[in-house]
């Protein structure tokens, strides 16, 4: 049983959800997603009518978002966030997979580390942000570090669990062929646990994004998180809502894409 809830996306990849769905079924699925989005937009509109001071309506927000997308100021902030996010994501992925493979392959270390990792996963890391700021200083490195703190742990946990639950014959094969640790990692372990690595990367992706944005919301002068917190402080509701919309769209699109990749992999593997 996984300690990480977001993982469950993969859990029901099999089951009743067959891959070669008839065209009509996939059409229905598209319709259902559309209906859900429509329902969310209706809720949004209702909330807007209830409190016009704190949020802008859907149509106005989309207009503002389009304006933002053609403004230099927005792209300056978006690039700042993008750079921090990209760096954190690379570090969480590469570092997470490497640590996960090592801990998974060495059973005893894995057993020692597992509860520690779970504990690290569940602590409220936001409260540690001041420490990160003191260590790394104000600027991009603190944001990157904070993003990595959020993103790396799920990647490690997923990779480690997958290697520990791998068919032992594969590891024995590596030993029979006298493969070096690097060769074992690249030729045996990674191909064998690729679907789980992708699940870990999907969760890591979400949390890295969250970490970077939170980092920007506190003691930062740049980035989308800063735009949001600044919008709150100077009561610029229009830009605030539009930035949130763009951020949510980015998160959901990437999440959907990664989920699709993950499911395709599981189908080809099983």
């Amino acid at each position: 049983m996984s300690v990480i809830p977001e993982a469950s996306g993969s859990a029901y990849a099999g089951g009743h959800d067959t891959q070669r769905a008839a065209p009509r079924q996939s059409l229905q699925r598209l319709l259902d997603s559309f209906l859900l989005v429509a329902a969310l937009v209706v809720v949004w509109q209702l909330v807007y009518w209830k409190s016009e001071v704190a949020i802008t309506g859907p149509i106005e927000t989309v207009k503002t978002a389009i304006e933002l997308l053609s403004s230099d100021i927005f792209w300056g902030h978006a690039l700042a966030s993008g750079r921090a996010f990209g760096l954190s994501l690379i570090m969480s992925s590469v570092g997470g997979v490497a640590i996960g493979l090592a801990l998974g392959a060495h059973r005893f270390s894995g057993a020692v580390a597992a509860p520690i990792l779970t504990a690290l996963y569940t602590i409220p890391k936001v409260t540690l942000y001041p420490m990160v700021l003191l260590i790394f200083g104000l600027g991009i490195s603190a944001k990157v570090a904070f993003g990595v703190m959020h993103g790396i742990i799920p990647v490690v946990i997923f990779t480690m669990d997958a290697v520990r639950n791998m068919n032992p014959v594969l590891i024995k094969t590596a030993r029979v062929f006298k493969l070096s640790p690097t060769e074992t990692a690249f030729k045996i372990l990674i191909p064998a646990v690729l679907p789980e690595i992708v699940t870990g990367l999907r969760v890591g992706f979400s949390l890295t994004l969250l970490g970077v944005v939170i980092g920007e919301m506190f003691a930062s002068q740049q980035g989308l998180g800063f735009m949001i917190i600044n919008g709150m402080n100077v009561h610029n509701v229009r830009s605030l809502t539009a930035v949130v919309l763009l951020l949510v769209l980015f998160a959901v699109t990437s999440g959907t894409l990664l989920l699709a990749i993950e499911r395709r992999m599981q189908h080809t593997q099983r």
């Binding site: 520690i116 409260t127 001041p130 003191l134 979400s206 994004l209 998160a251």
Partner: protein, 250 residues
Amino acid sequence: MKRVTLVRLCVIAGSVLAVEALCRFGVISRLTLLPPSEMAAYLVRLLVSGEINQAMLQTFSNVAIAFVLAIVLGFVVGAVIHAIPRLRRACDQFLASYYSIPIFVFYPLFVSLLGLNRWPLIMIGFLFAITAMVIATLNGLDRVPPVLLKLARVHRMSRSAEALRIVLPATGPYLFTGVKLALAYSFIGILAGEFILSGGGLGYAIAYAYDAFDNRTMYALMLFVLVVVTAINSALFIWEQRLLQRRGRG
């Protein structure tokens, strides 16, 4: 004690001691990090003086309310989504990317909807926690062994009897995972909300101490939060292991 546990304790103690040594010998400057022993000593003083009682009460009561709401409603929502497969499929991708949305950004909205009181913050903790519970409920309901459902049919159980006597016990471990995570996420949501946005509670006290360059208070409070959350989580973890063992034997 098992060897794994022993080594684990040594690893943790070793890391704390290493940090302590690095701080004491001045490798890490006092402006950056305080020695853990000093943090602990100052924390004890804070606790005894009662200065942080108000903040503690506020944070813990908010977490408790958010947590209870999240597990009850999360279970109900999960059951409803599971009962409607089409809704379920449409929800998948949103559940998959839910946790990358910084829910704190809705704080001003909640303030304008619910008023400037404790509820906007509880709402943030609740929204953070409920999804974990929904996903855990879905996970559990997906994994009820079909043979048990057949058994219910063989015994001609009523729907309510089937739900109470078959489905609920079978999903138990998954629901427990959900409860555990909901608690962790309530803490994360409330503390983060206090830290970035609100004007009270432990999270705010940490941010305030940071702004005032009061490293002693800041690190003492951080230590406190980490110890409390880790202690609660470990207690739940141990309890869960016991339950699982008993199930295995029964």
